[in-house]
Amino acid sequence: MTRGARHLLFAFGGTLVAVLFVWGVLGMPQFGSTDHPYRDRSVHAAAQHETPNVVAAVNFDQRGFDTLGEESIFFASVIGAAALLRPTKEEREQQKSGGGGVGDVMASTRFAGYVLLPLTLLVGFDVVAHGHVTPGGGFQGGVVLATGFHVIYVAGRYDALEKVRPVTLFENGEVLGALAFAGLGFAGIAISGSFLSNVIPFGSFGSFLSAGTVEVLNFAVGVEVACGVIVLLAHFFEQAIKLRDGSRAES
């Protein structure tokens, strides 16, 4: 299709969508009103299971099965991206001659990187660990944890990043996180007869040991997301840095 025809088709389709959208919006309930029937039910259900973070209660307790699906999408996409980014035979030969050295960054940037590494990991762990009582959770904390490792790369040391990030270990960690989530679901079947039911004692509202399975599932997801993001970025890095250096060394 030529560009002109494509623009024309978009002008037609876009206008149609815009008209339907505006029509739909004008029939919506009043914006910012107090009428939220699902909110009332989910807040009530979260309070019954002693979970102060209602969003976490919705994700890991009330609709835990959906989150298992979401987590599986994440898992599958990391595998898919890893398969797509596999180096070809010629690239693998190039790679042997290449190697990431120290980048050209200021000493202060490098220092900031080493200071931020433990700090970011601590924040990430905190976000995962308190996902049931404060804003946060496994997905958010997992991304923060994965980012923490890559602060070393920003500090200009790709070889140091490779040392703290053995990819095989993190690949296994990702599988372990996914298995733990599904395993807890089957534990729910064994104990109370329904998949992913909240079978751990709820504890008292707002304390660290509360909310039953919500926190355990948060940890499983946190491990999986942190490992998955690290594996994913490792494959992109491999393509972008090692191969580039390899071809540079050759020429």
Binding site: R3, V17, R39, V43, P52, V54, V55, N59, A81, V133
Partner: protein, 115 residues
């Protein structure tokens, strides 16, 4: 004014699609898709909004009340963001493969189907 947030959501969706249509670079198209998808976050959060209501996280001292914004759509938004991130990662990996195989990332130059 009361429908403002909904229109922002629709605007983001259409502008993201418009960017994909006009795109001359696959990486640019992937980012446009992310923009279009962010319209769904705004729409979901707008649906759950309530005026002068705090976030649905109570802490240890506050008693749970229903005078908060809707947590169900916030949980859906979280799911949405995770899916968006995975889709972006997969499409970028595909774009890299296309660049390697065809030597271009301009969608207009990728005309022939390869068996």
């Amino acid at each position: 004014m009361s429908h403002y947030a909904y229109f922002v959501a629709g605007w983001l969706l259409l502008m993201g699609c418009f960017g994909i249509v006009r795109s001359r670079n696959l990486v640019h198209a992937v980012v446009c898709l992310a923009v279009a998808q962010s319209g769904t976050y705004v729409l979901l959060l707008a649906v759950g909004y309530q005026r002068n209501a705090p976030a649905p996280v109570f802490g240890s001292t506050k008693k749970p009340t229903t005078k908060v914004v809707d947590p169900v759509v916030q949980a859906l938004t979280l799911t949405d963001i995770v899916v968006s991130a995975t889709v972006t990662a997969l499409l970028l990996a595909l774009a890299m493969q296309i660049a390697k195989r065809h030597g271009t990332v301009d969608p207009d130059e990728l005309t022939a189907l390869e068996g």
